[in-house]
């Protein structure tokens, strides 16, 4: 019987083949490590996607450049409340309408707190008017009462106008005093189908400025003098939820899926990036636009069917921040870059005209800020 020993030891694999296999495995590991952790992701234009890289020069990058939009919360938190102070301490309850005065102060219609709040550029939130109790009381701003105010705008002289929805009234705040300038049932405004939900100030020479009031119940936009007198009533195709007047007036008609910009109309704009869907009917669309403002040559809009902020241009809607889906709104609350950010229920919009869009995230009870590249505003 032959003894097994070192002299007759036989290798299972040849040393050369084993070395090749080891080297191959190492190469694969190195490649995965390089691709996964080292290599910078690039856009189709070859630019790095993030990490402090310069903004893209080509506006076509809007289709893919959402990561350059930075979303953060500047005031409030998920839990509702009524507190003034620095943004992180301030609390709101379902803020809706936004406006910015010439000094850069953000005016906020705090619907659930029945008050009008302001946020200074240094981030401090104060209550401008309203004692928190729903009602209709004029007089000193701290004792005045509103009921579910939804829209705000700032006049040329600094007067703040409020669409006081629960009272079917237009209120004015000037020099610490609240007055009612128009109310349903008086001065030509009907007592029934009238529900002001948004208000905008339009500068003109004839009347020292005109107020445009979106009337959801009356399916109309009222033109009022700053003193409250009715100039005209413009009947729309559907109930408006917002009106904007910095430039051509913009009306949002969510029931018709329509954005009316001046005399032009954008209806059911499909959301860019969904072109690859074969079935056109399945494309997510800007079907219920709630609010829109001018953003340079384009329009920024929010939609009830999608919890995101859009840039609408030439009948197409680009997602600036949030998540648009044909499956419906994706509610959540998360700061981050572009499509990584989530909103619960964006309703109000305002811009400083420079790089910032302010969003009232109603269900999150906070004010969000979108910081965008300069080219969005040109």
């Amino acid at each position: 019987m032959k003894q097994r020993g070192p002299s007759n030891f036989k290798r299972q694999v040849s040393p050369g083949l084993a070395a090749v296999m080891v080297i191959a495995v190492l190469v694969v590991v190195q490649y995965v490590w390089y691709v996964g952790l080292v290599k910078k992701p690039t856009t189709p234009m070859g630019q790095p996607k993030s990490g402090g890289a310069p903004p893209p020069a080509n506006k076509e990058l809007l289709l893919h450049g959402k990561d350059y939009i930075v979303v953060d919360t500047i005031a409030g938190d998920l839990d509702p409340g009524n507190a003034d102070g620095p943004g992180y301490k301030a609390r709101f309850d379902r803020p809706t309408g936004l406006a910015i005065d010439p000094a850069g102060v953000l005016i906020i219609a705090d619907s659930g707190n029945n008050s009008i709040r302001s946020m200074r550029p240094d981030g401090v939130v104060t209550t401008l008017a309203g004692n928190g109790t729903p009602g209709k009381v004029d007089g000193a701003a701290s004792n005045a009462q509103f009921k579910y105010p939804t829209g705000v705008c700032v006049g040329a002289d600094g007067t703040i106008y409020v669409a006081d929805t629960g009272n079917n009234a237009i209120r004015a705040i000037k020099a610490g005093q609240v007055t009612t300038i128009a109310v349903a049932g008086k001065g030509g405004i009907p007592n029934g189908a009238y529900s002001p939900v948004s208000i905008a100030f339009k500068s003109d020479n004839s009347h020292g400025g005109t107020l445009l009031v979106a009337d959801a119940a009356g399916k109309a936009v009222w033109e009022l003098q700053t003193g409250g007198g009715v100039i005209a009533k413009n009947v729309l195709a559907a109930a408006p939820t917002s009106v904007s007047a910095n430039g051509d007036a913009i009306f949002c008609l969510p029931q018709a899926g329509m954005l009316q910009i001046g005399s032009g109309q954008t209806q059911n704009a499909y959301i860019a990036g969904s072109d690859e869907l074969d079935d056109v009917k399945r494309r997510p669309r800007l079907s219920h636009p709630l609010n829109a403002i001018h953003l340079g040559t384009a329009v920024a809009a929010v939609d009830a069917a999608h919890t995101c902020v859009f840039l609408v241009k030439n009948g197409r809607a680009e997602v600036l921040a949030g998540l648009a889906s044909s499956a419906g709104p994706a509610h959540d609350y998360k700061d981050g870059n572009g499509e990584a950010a989530f909103f619960n229920q964006p309703t109000g919009l305002a811009t400083d005209g420079k790089r910032v869009i302010y969003v009232a995230d109603t269900a999150s009870c906070c004010i969000r800020r979108l910081t965008a590249p300069d080219f969005l505003f040109h």
């Binding site: 998920l78 509702p80 809706t96 959801a216 029931q255 009830a304 959540d332 609350y333 619960n344």
Partner: protein
């Protein structure tokens, strides 16, 4: 010869051993009987046992069966010394009352959305073919108080008045994003004996609204807003005119109760934990609308019960446990429930009692038991 000192020491030792406590004399005494001599030992042993008994957790008595062959108990409440519960019986929903003298079926409806009992009266929201109505039973026969309350979802019966919450439709159908023109909640009231209904007030709330109880002349209303990371808000709504005031709000679903003396308590996410979703705290609502922390570190998603001035918490775990809330300086105490039973509710039946069902009764029919809580 022993010295006198030695004699004195021997005598001292002898008397000590005999249990004599005085050293005034060397005169021999008659020793007490053995029964008397062991008495101090017995007293000491009894005191020790009593102390040990006091340190042991309180134990409940044995459960007493109060109903048999029950199916699908949905909610149980107590009033006027009787248990009331909703029971799913096939395609019908029954309101059953038991007061120790037997079980009585108060009413049977195709579906019941909510039940409230008070002072041997009961009121409920009946749902039939998509139509909700407010019904009550103040005697032996159920009556319909409001035949058409299509969006009624919650009701509360207190002091002979039925309060219920209805949703008003949004102004623009299908568009609820703007709260001021979206769905709102209206609280209505009607006497349990009938008559016309009146509107108590309205709330800018569109989610799940629950009328918790009556605190003084104000209704305590808990609203849970829908949506991701929902928020609960607690309101005080005057019943005799006036606007509601939001007195508390927090992220997550909450539960509240009002004691028979009108003191309101509500749960909120645990404040002192790294994972607030897992633990709950209980706050007390003060008369001025402010809140005071009462207890923390309770398992989440539970319900608060008030019975005979005792506040108890039934946690929301799969096999729920009953807790006695602690204070700011003490942890809550887990109450021992008889083995083999699952607590369903706590009621005031001549004192705090727990309604139990057997653990094995996952489906099918099962008996119901009650057991008195230790005072």
């Amino acid at each position: 010869m022993p010295s006198s000192l030695e004699i004195a020491l021997q005598a001292f030792t002898y008397r000590l051993l005999q249990g004599v406590h005085t050293l005034d004399s060397f005169k021999p005494r008659t020793l007490p009987s053995s029964k008397i001599r062991i008495l101090p030992g017995l007293v000491a042993a009894a005191a020790l046992l009593f102390a040990l008994y006091g340190l042991m957790p309180a134990r409940m008595a044995m459960p007493r069966q109060i109903a048999d062959r029950v199916t699908g108990v949905r909610c149980a409440q107590s009033a006027d010394g009787a248990w009331y519960w909703l029971e799913q019986r096939g395609g019908q929903c029954a309101i059953v009352k038991t007061d120790g003298r037997g079980n009585t079926v108060i009413a049977t409806e195709p579906a019941i959305l909510d039940l409230s009992v008070d002072q041997s009266q009961s009121a409920w929201i009946a749902l039939s073919v998509g139509q909700a109505s407010i019904r009550s039973c103040a005697g032996s026969t159920p009556t319909t108080l409001c035949p058409a309350a299509p969006t009624a979802r919650s009701l509360c019966l207190r002091n002979g008045i039925v309060y219920w919450a209805e949703q008003q439709p949004e102004m623009l159908s299908g568009i609820q994003a703007l709260p001021s023109i979206g769905i709102q909640t209206v609280i209505k009231a009607i006497s349990v004996s009938g008559g016309s209904s009146s509107t108590v007030g309205s709330l800018l709330e569109a989610g799940d609204v629950k009328i918790v109880g009556l605190s003084g002349d104000k209704l305590v209303v808990m609203c849970t807003r829908s949506g991701m990371r929902g928020v609960s808000a607690l309101y005080l709504m005057p019943t005799k005119g006036g606007e509601p005031a939001r007195v508390a709000a927090a992220v997550g679903t909450q539960h509240a109760t009002v004691t028979r003396h009108g003191k309101a308590y509500y749960t909120t996410a645990g404040r002192d934990t790294s994972n607030p979703a897992l633990l709950a705290a209980i706050n007390a609502l003060n008369a001025d609308g402010s809140s005071s922390p009462l207890s923390d570190w309770l398992p989440a998603n539970g319900e608060i019960y008030a019975a005979n001035n005792q506040l108890l918490y039934l946690d929301g775990s799969v096999y729920p446990a009953l807790w006695k809330p602690g204070s700011e300086r003490s942890l809550p105490e887990k109450l021992t429930v008889p083995a083999g039973y699952t607590p369903l509710a706590v009621g005031d039946i001549g004192g705090p009692k727990v309604l139990l069902r057997p653990d094995f009764a996952i489906s099918g029919t099962y008996p119901l038991y009650e057991v008195r809580l230790p005072e």
